[in-house]
């Protein structure tokens, strides 16, 4: 039986209630929108907007913090996109928000079919992206970011723990492994053996097995510019 759908659209997910006329609001919306750009110039266009935001990183981080807190729990992709902006900005003033994102309790699972869609999984992706922001700042010798990585190696969620351990191992300098061995409970020390790997070095999926049928056809030429 076929269903029926009606949608309503809004211009973007944010409200900018604290300062609706700030010119940075438009740039933040554009940066978030261009995260999903496709085409030969996609990355260059995205970086151009980021560069404009980096000129006023302090102010931008403050707006991101306000908007992040204003979004509803269910706006997982929108909350993720703001944390991803913090990854790109790598600005010390974002440490407070990153700490807040990581320390917030993960709400209970909202989905009833978790192997299809898991809200806890969405929350974890937001938090592991916050860990990536800390990792990038640790790469720039930010000791506070490195300390937060170490602290959240004790997070209750496995993926967050694993991401923190890998970030700390990468930029914790001499003795990082020994400090983690002291810090981690015995049952978590196996995480030290989980390696970040190049996809070319892992066993590859084999597509030619388990096929309902085998057919190939011509593919239309790629178009990356609007006619």
């Amino acid at each position: 039986m076929a269903d029926s759908l009606r949608i309503q659209t809004v211009p973007h997910p944010f409200r900018f209630r604290e300062n609706p006329d700030n010119s940075l609001n438009r740039l933040i919306v554009e940066a978030v929108n261009r995260m999903g750009e496709f085409g030969d110039d996609a990355e260059a266009n995205y970086q151009t907007v980021l560069e404009a935001l980096r000129q006023r990183s302090d102010e931008v981080v403050a707006i991101i913090a306000a908007e992040y807190r204003d979004l509803s729990e269910a706006q997982y992709l929108d909350r993720w996109s703001l944390v991803q902006l913090l990854v790109e900005l790598r600005h010390p003033s974002s440490l407070s928000l990153l700490n807040e994102v990581l320390s917030n309790q993960i709400p209970e699972e909202r989905s009833q079919d978790t192997d299809s869609f898991t809200t806890v999984g969405e929350e974890v992706m937001i938090k592991t992206t916050a860990v990536e922001a800390l990792t990038q700042m640790s790469a720039q010798q930010n000791q506070d970011a490195l300390d937060l990585l170490l602290r959240y190696t004790q997070h209750e969620n496995f993926s967050i723990k694993r991401a923190c351990v890998q970030g700390y191992l990468a930029y914790g300098g001499e003795g990082a492994t020994e400090r983690l061995l002291e810090f981690l409970p015995e049952q978590d020390r196996f995480i030290l053996d989980i390696r970040r790997e190049d996809v070319r070095n892992v066993p590859q999926p084999r597509g030619e097995n388990y096929l309902r049928r085998e057919e190939s056809g011509d593919t239309p030429r790629l178009q990356t510019r609007r006619d």
Partner: protein, 226 residues
Amino acid sequence: MANCTFTVPDNNASGDNFYGQFICNQIYVDYFWNTYGFKGNKKYWDDGFGWDDPCNTNLPLGRTFNACYLLTYSAQDYTNDNWDAPQNILQWGRRYVRNNIDDLRSKCGDGSAIARAFPGGTVELYLGCFYSKDVPGRAETLIHEARHQGGKPHDAQFPKGSVFGEGKDGADSTWDYQGAWTFAAAYLWWFFAAGARTTSAMRQRARQRGNLVIDNAFARHPGFSI
């Protein structure tokens, strides 16, 4: 029959705006409709789902076309979809989906699942797939469901602490089992490592989702991460 409503933001990180400007071409509309399992399923894409407005990426059909476009054109050399190494799932993933999904249908769903595979090559997509997933995530869903249609079910329970539901059926035993989770994670991993004509942000998103799958969807952790 169900009636559903949804509020869609025009400008967010899903990627729909940008993929959307390319799918609006009759060559692609025909190609996707005829090869990705839409053909013969008009009634499931009608009545608000986009059949009469395929360029509108606020609607499910346009959003699914966006995923088809990503599947088709994200490898640098998109003309080569051979199975043999050194080709990888970023290149032949689109062929695998086309060969395994006969009927691709959209429905409101009950708010729990985002997609389901049924015996005989039918895959249903629900509102969460169109509006909770970004474009690479929708492509991942098609890859995952195509693997089930190819005849590879899950064979294990999710591990302790898994976000997919500790102890529930639906996991793959190992990476080498070559199940739907391996296919999904590997597609995201290749998109992160070698996805063409996209942004570093979308690749980072694919990395985070791929790691979530690797950490939580295998009864025995593969021992590596992205």
